[in-house]
Point group: C2
Chain length 348, copies 2
């Protein structure tokens, strides 16, 4: 692939998004050569909305769709910024991209890196990946309210789950598990309460499991998973779960592996109909924006996932090794966002 | 109250349920005097279902309703017992009781007791209570499936939230917070995605908050709460949240405070229309049933919540102190379920 040019859409976004994305790009360029990367920046986020009233217009969406992949920073206004309706940017930019570009798999690895500090007393080795479904469940926006604002209000939210959507993320999880040493898939759900959705997820895991006789699988209620993730995270290899449970469990996974500053992700379009999007799990952290205090490691690791997924396996490995070494060597001295990026880029 | 007789329905249930309930009752009797407790046992659970096909018949429900309160153990078959449909007993006994008896508030305290071992390296002081809504949300059974079993299946689950249901649990949380030292309520939700339900919860918290000027309140997304609960659990005082988020977060809360063996709860009917029900958060643990290995502390602490709520504040305090002392003195020597109960009862 190294003769091709990697054509990237950049969406740095708000808060610390631009700072961490700059470092991710720096490292990515160091890994495959600046000549082999072409970037087009899209200035979406709070500022754009405040000056134009637009979040993600159709033409912009169409333009982004032309790129091979998207490197995404973070969107979201400061919680006390009353000019911007809460959650608007997240929904109309981030979630819109995930849905419009059919990001079936939200791929979120959790590794306890050397040098990273887990809040757990005995974290053990942690190395698992969550395959979070990305286009269905409670995220479909299928809710409504009647008698809103009154004492008789009823507000509903519907989780929509399809065999098609569940099967593709479950199959992706099994395929991935098959490449790993432990070859084990754990379904997280709550089928004792969510009978219909739970039954669908169980059925698909059983069916797909038959296609992968060398991959074992088990089931955990999502509440029980909270306990295992804090007492025995090493039991997990590949987790597959729905959009909302995946949202919750990946933040806990990030926490036990040393924090959201290291958690990377890829929103994967697995049919090739639109670009995949790579983003740190953390948000825009407006409180430290512009201060060069943000840790760009999550964004850099997201760039590594990008490289891996877009056909640059060797370069991805180089970035991983550089991050690994950098983390292992991190001392107590604070470095700026760009110092971290420089150090990792230099080692790539 | 001590001249009255406390009229209890006992539902020991399955697995370790009967063992731990026996110890809870032992301690409860020690606290208010055996003469002041009258118990009626209801043999519900796996065995009853296997021999009769009944889970919780209407007449039994009506009989249980006549009691002042319910002491509940656990229901649920072994996961590999294919004779019993998965989740059936949980839904048709436990959840049916919560809904039929209008258990508006699922009250779940989390305290890091002396001697309890948190999996966290630096747990700090942990002392918070979750007010989990108990009669609404994704638990209402409002789901369905079309084209079930085919590759075109669509399975939906609807979370139903009413101003009435939200307001009563939120008000209960504020009232409780007002009695506490820190007087702080945190709403956990995901309003950036679940716009309609989230808006309702936000509105009610803001409205009720106005009635309690001495109680502060804030908001956290449920995913972010995972991080705080593992890195800074001491930030929480009173948490209020919906049924599903409450289910998830209380298992994490139990984990960080030393495990589900200590987590107690009360399912509270706050209008006096039906008995409240007190139960350990743990399940029936069929793997260790009958071996006297189960820790009855969660059941005993649930009896303490019962005493507190049913008008025996002094006795409740005695049980708390006895549990506190017992936990602080626990050594490495394993005791049987009934030895733990005996020891605590002796100190009451
Ligand atoms: C910002 C928010 C909409 C998003 C989500 O809920 O998916 C975030 O929490 C994440 O995990 O990527
Ligand atoms: C057994 C199950 C139905 C129950 C629930 O989901 O509420 C349990 O997990 C709990 O937390 O009490």
């Amino acid at each position: 692939m190294s003769n091709n040019v990697l054509d990237l859409a950049l969406i740095p976004g708000d808060g610390i998004g631009p700072e961490v994305t700059a470092e991710a790009l720096k490292v990515l360029k160091a890994a495959i050569g600046a000549d082999h990367v072409k970037t087009t920046e899209y200035g979406l986020g709070a500022e754009h909305w405040l000056s134009t009233g637009e979040t993600l217009p159709d033409e912009t969406l169409a333009a982004i769709r032309q790129h091979q992949a998207i490197l995404f920073g973070a969107v979201g206004a400061a919680p006390n910024d009353t000019r911007i309706p809460s959650g608007l940017l997240e929904r109309e930019i981030l979630l819109k991209l995930r849905f419009a570009f059919d990001h079936a798999v939200n791929f979120r690895p959790s590794v306890l890196y050397p040098g990273a500090t887990s809040p757990l007393a005995n974290p053990g080795d942690i190395d698992f990946v969550v395959f979070r479904e990305g286009t269905e469940g409670l995220y479909v926006g299928n809710g409504g309210s009647m008698r809103a604002g009154t004492e008789y209000e009823v507000a509903n939210e519907t989780s929509v789950n399809t065999a098609y959507g569940v099967k593709r993320v479950v199959r992706a999880a099994f395929e991935y598990a098959q490449q790993r040493q432990r070859k084990h898939v754990t379904l997280l759900h709550k089928h004792n309460v969510l009978v219909h959705a739970g039954h669908l997820w169980n059925r698909i895991v059983a069916e797909v499991g038959e296609e992968f006789p060398d991959v074992t699988h088990d089931y955990l209620h999502v509440d029980a998973a909270m306990i295992f993730m804090t007492t025995d995270p090493n039991r997990f290899d590949v987790i597959v779960t729905d959009n909302m449970f995946g949202d919750i469990v990946t933040d806990l996974a990030a926490a036990v592996t040393g924090g959201i500053g290291l958690a990377a992700s890829g929103n994967l379009n697995i049919t090739g109909t639109a670009p995949s999007m790579y983003e740190p799990v953390h948000g825009s952290a407006p409180d430290i924006a512009g201060t060069q205090q943000a840790d760009p490691t999550a964004a850099i690791l997201s760039a590594a996932i990008l490289l891996e997924q877009e056909g640059y396996a060797e370069a991805a490995q180089k970035v991983h090794t550089a991050v690994w070494d950098d983390l292992a060597a991190r001392g107590a001295t604070a470095r700026t966002t760009s110092q971290v990026g420089d150090a990792i880029a230099a080692q790539v």
